[in-house]
Structure formats: structure tokens, C-alpha cells
């Protein structure tokens, strides 16, 4: 049986940096192939070469046994290679149908054929078992998970031989991810080959048939997923042993520092209740759209608070603005690093210190020296890899950017940290550093609310967990009393989880 895709000896350099060196990569027909590696290992570069976005310096690519040199993205697409990017690339104001057909509108002499187009779009959605998504609605009214489905449907309309999915689940909840996996398996049955890139190794293990590991631009291992063991894969990825993915640092719980009673926003959350104690890591689980992010935003004063009461450090403080919350010693890490979390065209130092220039300045004048020293200290403490504090933040990798965003809360010396999806889309090494940091902060008596859609990390890191369901948050319980199964049951609204 010939492979659907065979890449061998692929090399690519940017200036003096060798991004890919002698990479071999092989995918069979109707196979889901996990491409695994830390950020910067070269996964995206390899896939960009395959999809025609970048030319390779050397190497050979065969598609169904025929030599294939992708000249540009259009050529690759015409050859049956479809790529779904990490960031959603939909036109937000166009309808679902228009987005699915974009660039491939069936028609004649420039006049689109409405009926055939609708049929095609509907068929693509049906194939993914998402007929429920209405065709005429603008995509910006859909949830992120639904938008993801639209994006995949768009790729399907082109009847691809190969589908490349770059971190498709990073913004999905477990339930939506399950749907996606089912859709992937159906595509596999049709003979479509899928390259699946994800930082969630457990997911790769469940969904993929085979895997290839990249490290520092080289392929360091490939094999059958069912025979692989997770620790071995991690060892190959990072080139070193990570002893514990979820390091536990002992810490003690103190008095309550934060209390929400019936906190409600305009639409979400409907009623959020919790008590957070000093030195506690409290996890909030739930589906996307259940109102977890909104609860943090309403509390932090970014969205309007409609009802409920809040006390901070045992003092009534219901109505807050971000300025006031920061003054109270509360910091929020946004789930959306690019659009809200960071000022992408500013320097690392500015992003790190913006909430607390006071200690770096006198009478409104900022001392560049103090700021630089301060940023350098945090860079070292958080292991941020960058050339200098004056480097533009957009030049850093996702993991390093995230560390800077977390570093801002540390520089602010926040006593209560609200972390919304802090590990989304970052590599395993950075994730472990963030887990460890959370433990250290808790042991220093900081209180942390940790919102995550990734259950293993919630169960691994948190002291207590609470599940948000349809805008209602209540019933905090120790992490030990939860299982993945019981959390999912609670998230989708089944009253009492089954025994297993």
C-alpha cells in the first residue's frame, strides 16, 4: 500500500536558524496521524511547507506516490490538501453558508447557484453531524465550537485527500471536542487522511492511529499510537524527563478572601456562588458558553454586574471597576491572549509592568533602568526566553507570551489571581512551569481561581473544583471527590453523576 503522503529529507532555515533538518514524515490513507512536539519544534513550519505557504530548502514530497511540489496554498488546495489553522479564519459578518462556500461558490459565469451552494454546504455540515447549525446566520453569532465546525465544513467542501488540523480543540470544551473526534473518525472512514497537531497528548492518544514526534526541527520518533506510552512520548518531545506533569507543592488553606453570592451578569452568569480561601487553588470547570469567563469578567468589572453580592477580604465590594479590583490586589489573566491579554506591538517590559508603573517611577516619570531590571528579574524567575526586555512581545512564542501575561499579575503582586485558561495553546514544558508556579503562589498564601476546559489539569492542580452549568455556579467540592466523569456529568447538567 502506498502512503498518502511521504515527506523525506525536508530542510528549511530562516536566516541562520535551522527550523527543519532532515525531517521525514509519512501518513497512510485514511489515517489520523498525530504530529507532536513542543512549541517551536517545527510542526507549523512543516505543515506550512506541505500546504504551500512556505517553500522547502531541500527534501522530497510525494502525494499518492507522485512527486509533489506545492507552489502556493491554492495549488496545494487544488491537489487535495486542506489546512485548518489554529486561529479561526472565518469572515465574521458573512453567513455560515457563505463562509463554507467562500472561494468555491458553485455557479456559472460569475453568477452563483444558490440551490447548489446550499446543498453543498448542508451536505458538508451533515457529514460532521451538525445539521443543527443554521446556514443563514452570520458566523459571529455562533459559539467558537460551532465556528470550528464551520471551518472544517469549509475544508470538506473541497473534497480533500488530506486534512491538516492545527490545535483544533484548544478552544473547545470536552463535549465539543468529543463531537469533533467523532467527525474526524467519520472522515477517516471515507479515506481522508488527517494530520492532527495538538498539545493535548491524551487526546492524541485517543484519536490518532499513528504519531510522529518533532524536536528542535528533527523527527525523533514515529510509531503506532496504541503501542506507545505517554511518558515515553513526553521524554522524546522535551529530550528530558519531566518527572511530574502536575507538580504538587504543599500549601495550606487560610481564611476566606473572596466571596460571591448570587453573582449575575446581563445574560451570563445567572448565579455564581463561591468562597475562595487564602492559599487555595479553586478550579472552575464547565462547557464553553456556560458563563465561566463571564463570571470572572463581571466580578472584575469588565462586564456589567446585574445582581448578587461580592465581598473581598471580608469587606463588601460588589461594584468593581478593573482599576478598583487591581487596587484591591486582584489580577485577571484573560483567556484571549492576543485580543485582550497582551499589547502585541509593545515591548515585553511594558506588557509586564503596565498595571504597576508606580514602583518604577517617581512623580509620573518612569525610570527605564528600573523597569528593565524589574522585567529582567521576572524573565529569569519565569524562564521567559527572549533577547531583551525591550523586545516586542509579538516576537515571542506562545508559551513565553503567556508567561509574560502571568508575570504581569506577579509584578502587580496580586493576592487573588483569576486565571482564565492559562495553559491554552502552549507547549508542555511551559504548562508544567505554570502549574508549578501556581503551586508556589498558593504556598505563599495567594488565592487562585483557575478556569480550564482541560479536566486532567484541573484534577491535577486544584484543591477544590466547582462546575458551572448553564450560568449557574455552586457546590464547591474538594478535587479528590471529583472524577472526569462526574465533572462532565455536572457540566452537561445531569443531576447526580453515576458511580463511574
Amino acid at each position: 500500500m502506498t502512503a498518502r503522503l511521504r515527506m523525506s529529507g525536508v530542510r528549511k532555515s530562516f536566516g541562520a536558524t535551522l527550523a527543519l533538518n532532515n525531517v521525514s514524515f509519512e501518513v497512510g490513507p485514511g489515517e489520523i496521524h498525530a504530529l507532536i512536539g513542543e512549541n517551536g519544534a517545527g510542526k507549523s513550519t512543516l505543515m506550512k511547507i506541505l500546504s504551500g505557504a512556505l517553500p522547502a530548502d531541500a527534501g522530497r514530497i510525494e502525494l499518492d506516490g507522485q512527486p509533489f511540489v506545492p507552489e502556493n496554498p491554492l495549488h496545494a488546495r487544488r491537489s487535495g490538501i486542506a489546512m485548518i489553522y489554529q486561529e479561526l479564519l472565518l469572515a465574521p459578518h458573512l453567513s455560515v453558508e457563505e463562509n463554507i462556500l467562500l472561494g468555491e461558490e458553485p455557479g456559472r459565469f460569475g453568477w452563483p447557484s444558490r440551490t447548489r451552494g446550499r446543498e453543498l454546504a448542508r451536505h458538508a455540515l451533515a457529514e460532521l453531524h451538525h445539521e443543527n447549525i443554521p446556514l443563514h446566520v452570520p458566523v459571529n453569532r455562533l459559539t467558537i465550537a460551532e465556528q470550528q465546525i464551520v471551518e472544517i465544513a469549509r475544508a470538506l467542501v473541497r473534497a480533500p485527500k488530506m486534512l491538516i488540523m492545527d490545535e483544533p480543540t484548544s478552544s473547545l470544551t470536552q463535549v465539543d471536542a468529543e463531537n469533533l473526534f467523532r467527525a474526524m473518525k467519520r472522515l477517516r472512514q471515507r479515506g481522508v487522511s488527517i494530520v492532527y497537531i495538538s498539545h493535548f497528548l491524551e487526546e492524541c492518544q485517543r484519536v490518532a492511529d499513528r504519531y510522529t514526534i518533532l524536536r528542535d526541527g528533527e523527527s525523533v520518533g514515529t510509531g503506532v499510537m496504541a503501542e506507545a506510552d505517554l511518558n515515553g512520548i513526553i521524554r522524546l518531545m522535551v529530550g528530558r524527563e519531566i518527572k511530574e506533569i502536575y507538580p504538587r507543592i504543599p500549601h495550606e488553606l487560610g481564611p476566606p478572601v473572596l466571596e460571591w453570592i448570587g453573582l449575575g451578569g446581563e445574560t451570563r452568569p445567572r448565579s455564581a456562588n463561591l468562597t475562595l480561601r487564602q492559599g487555595e487553588i479553586l478550579g472552575i470547570a464547565g462547557l464553553i458558553g456556560s458563563g465561566r469567563t463571564e463570571a470572572l469578567r463581571v466580578f472584575f468589572g469588565l462586564d456589567r454586574l446585574a445582581r448578587g453580592r461580592v465581598s473581598v477580604f471580608s469587606r463588601e465590594s460588589t461594584r468593581g471597576t478593573p482599576t478598583r479590583r487591581l487596587a484591591e490586589g486582584i489580577g485577571l489573566l484573560s483567556e484571549n491572549r492576543k485580543e485582550e491579554g497582551l499589547m502585541l506591538n509593545r515591548t515585553l517590559a511594558d506588557n509586564l509592568t503596565v498595571t504597576r508603573y508606580g514602583v518604577l517611577s517617581r512623580l509620573g516619570w518612569i525610570s527605564s533602568r528600573l523597569q528593565e531590571n524589574c522585567a529582567r528579574a521576572w524573565m529569569q524567575r519565569l524562564d521567559v526566553r527572549a533577547r531583551s526586555p525591550r523586545q516586542c512581545i509579538s516576537e515571542l512564542s506562545g508559551g513565553n507570551q503567556q508567561k509574560v501575561a502571568v508575570g504581569r499579575l506577579l509584578h502587580h503582586d496580586a493576592a487573588i489571581l483569576l486565571l482564565d485558561e492559562p495553559t491554552r495553546g502552549i507547549d508542555v514544558g511551559s504548562k508544567v512551569q505554570i502549574y508549578r508556579l501556581m503551586g508556589e503562589l498558593a504556598s505563599q498564601g495567594k488565592a487562585i481561581i483557575f478556569v480550564s476546559s482541560y479536566l486532567p489539569e484541573l484534577l491535577g492542580v486544584c484543591d477544590t473544583i466547582v462546575v458551572m452549568c448553564r450560568g449557574v455556579l455552586s457546590g464547591v467540592r474538594p478535587a479528590g471527590e471529583w472524577t472526569e466523569h462526574s465533572i462532565i456529568s455536572a457540566a452537561i447538567g445531569q443531576n447526580e453523576p453515576a458511580a463511574n
Binding site: 530562516f14 536566516g15 541562520a16 536558524t17 527550523a19 517551536g40 472584575f300 469588565l302 471597576t321 478593573p322 482599576t323 479590583r325 487591581l326 487596587a327 485577571l332 484573560s334 485580543e339 485582550e340 491579554g341 497582551l342 499589547m343 502585541l344 506591538n345 509593545r346 511594558d350 503596565v354 498595571t355 508603573y357 517611577s361 509620573g364 516619570w365 518612569i366 527605564s368 526566553r385 533577547r387 516576537e395 512564542s397 504581569r408
Partner: protein
């Protein structure tokens, strides 16, 4: 991590001196012709260029701040006309020059305050609000001046922009020195103070600025008001130069000012820009005007050339940034 430090420094250097190189290039081009050079490369000519730059330069100080914060102000030309008229009318009515100066500048600040309050308070697009204000301020100017020019009585204000004899570079009129001092002050404010960093922060990402506890609305009101004071000062310079308040003067001035800021490397998306760049941008435009005149090119040639320079400046900027591997 894909580019080496050496390349990085080269880019940084280009970014810093790019507009300056542009200015040198323009001056160099006009100096090629030896006949023109004998007029063009003289102290007297540069004195004229500096005086002609003052109004655009002072306007560009405020505009840089606004554009860096992600906004825009289209009402500058009208505000310059309005404040000039206010100054002239108040002196005709018997105000002492000092009071007239204060009034002129404060009216500019008031217009800015209204702009800022509407933009921040109602969350409206700066483009729309200031487009409206462009009409309102121009209309009020004509109303106050009864649609005529108002001759200002002789006063020390006339010296601000007067071409002082002898015909050499120095002494420069006091208006030029005011512009230079303000430029230095604004550059320091934008670069070195918390206020300045907040301006950049808001322009770079308003959502982040809010998340980081910056009072975005208050800041916007402050930014437009401060810029308004500067536009009022530009109006004073305009009045000094004409020795009258003219309600129909400075039509399209806002576009010259925006062009100067953009040539100087600012992005209309906000978050980037510098006072130094904007000042050089303003000088480039004045040098182009002066040079074209000395070459004997007709007016329409100047307009075409300046238009091309604006597009080219931003295009070069784009290429420079596009070079960095994504």
C-alpha cells in the same frame, strides 16, 4: 527567534532614522540642480521653511498623541480657523494680548474636551465625532467673524511668526522656538511618563488597557483636550502669521497634519508613532513645497508629489515590517 540580533539592530536603526533619511533625501534631490541650490540651500530659505512648518508641526504634536492612542481628529483645520477668529475678535473687542492668547488656546482645549467627552462617553468613533466637529467649529468661526476676515490690531502677537531681518537662518522667530520646545516636551511626555505609556497602551490594545486598570475614558478625554490646547496654539500662530482671524483659513490642514504624522512612522491602527518622526514628517512636506516652488513647478505638481510621498512613506514602512519572518 528566527532573526539574528544583528538583523534586529539593523531594523531598529532603520526604524529610528528612516524618516530622517527621507528628509535628507528630499533636501538632497532639490540640491542637485546647482542653479536651484543657490536659492534653496540658504539660511534664509530654511528660515522660511521652518516658519511655514510651525503650524503643521504644533498640530502634529497633538495629532501624534491622538493617533498613537488609536484615534483621529479631523477637526483641526476648523479649530485653527475658529481659534484664530476668537483671538482676533477678542482683541478687537479690547482684550489685552495676554488674555487673547489664553482665550485662543483655551477655546482649542474646549473643543478637544467636547470631542473627547463625546468619543469616550458615548463610545463613538473618533472619525465621525471629529468629522462632525469639523463642520461645527468652521460654522461657529464664520458666525463669530460674520463670514469676513477680522483684522487683529497690532500687538506683540505679530512677532510670533514674523520673518525677522536679516535674511539668514538666525534669529528665528519665537514661534519656531515655541514649537521646538513643545516638541521636546511632548516627546519626553510620550516616552518617559506613565501618561505617555498609557497613551501607547490604549492605542496598542484598548481591551488590554482596560484589563490593566487604565481608566480608558478619562485618558481619552485628557488626550483630546491636551491635543485641543495644542490646536488652539496652532490657531494662534495662524492668526499671528496672517495678522487677522480668517474663518476660511486652514481648510484641509488636518490632512497635512495627519500626513506628517504618518510619514513620521505612526500607524493609524494606533500603538506606534513618535514625536521626532512626526516633526520630520512635517519638515519633509514643507521642504517639498518650498523646493517645488523654487524649481518653478506648478502647484498641481506639488500636490501630486506630496501625495506620492505619503503613499511611498507608508509603503516603505510596510515593507520594512513585512520583512520580519512571521
Amino acid at each position: 527567534m528566527n532573526d539574528t540580533p544583528r538583523q534586529f539592530n539593523l531594523f531598529a536603526l532603520l526604524n529610528a532614522v528612516g524618516p530622517f533619511l527621507g528628509l535628507m533625501l528630499v533636501i538632497g534631490l532639490f540640491s542637485l540642480d546647482s542653479e536651484v541650490r543657490s536659492y534653496f540651500l540658504t539660511g534664509a530659505n530654511f528660515k522660511t521653511i521652518f516658519i511655514q512648518t510651525v503650524i503643521v508641526a504644533i498640530g502634529a504634536l497633538g495629532m501624534t498623541m491622538i493617533i498613537v492612542s488609536g484615534g483621529i481628529d479631523l477637526s483641526v483645520g476648523s479649530v485653527v480657523a475658529l481659534t484664530g477668529v476668537v483671538g482676533a475678535v477678542s482683541m478687537v473687542q479690547g482684550c489685552p494680548p495676554a488674555a487673547a492668547i489664553a482665550l485662543t488656546i483655551l477655546v482649542g482645549g474646549l473643543v478637544g474636551l467636547i470631542n473627547g467627552a463625546v468619543i469616550a462617553g458615548l463610545g463613538m468613533m473618533p472619525f465621525i465625532v471629529t468629522l462632525g466637529m469639523m463642520g461645527v467649529a468652521r460654522g461657529v468661526a464664520k458666525w463669530l467673524a460674520r463670514s469676513q476676515t477680522v483684522d487683529a490690531p497690532n500687538s506683540p502677537i505679530d512677532h510670533l511668526m514674523a520673518v525677522v531681518e536679516p535674511l539668514q537662518l538666525f534669529p528665528l522667530p519665537i514661534g519656531v522656538w515655541i514649537a521646538v520646545c513643545l516638541a521636546v516636551a511632548m516627546a519626553v511626555v510620550l516616552k518617559k511618563t506613565i501618561f505617555g505609556r498609557y497613551v501607547f497602551a490604549i492605542g496598542s490594545n484598548e481591551a488590554t488597557a482596560r484589563l490593566c486598570g487604565i481608566r480608558v475614558r478619562t485618558m481619552k478625554v485628557a488626550i483630546y483636550s491636551l491635543a485641543g490646547l495644542l490646536f488652539g496654539l496652532a490657531g494662534l500662530m495662524q492668526m499671528s502669521r496672517l495678522a487677522q482671524g480668517d474663518p476660511t483659513v486652514a481648510i484641509g490642514l488636518e490632512l497635512d497634519i495627519i500626513a506628517a504624522v504618518v510619514i513620521g512612522g505612526a500607524s493609524l491602527n494606533g500603538g506606534t508613532g513618535s514625536i521626532m518622526g512626526s516633526m520630520i514628517g512635517a519638515l519633509i512636506m514643507a521642504v517639498l513645497r518650498s523646493g517645488s516652488m523654487q524649481m518653478g513647478w506648478p502647484n498641481y505638481m506639488q500636490e501630486i508629489i506630496i501625495g506620492i510621498v505619503i503613499i511611498a512613506a507608508v509603503g516603505v514602512d510596510r515593507l520594512r515590517h513585512g520583512r520580519a519572518p512571521s
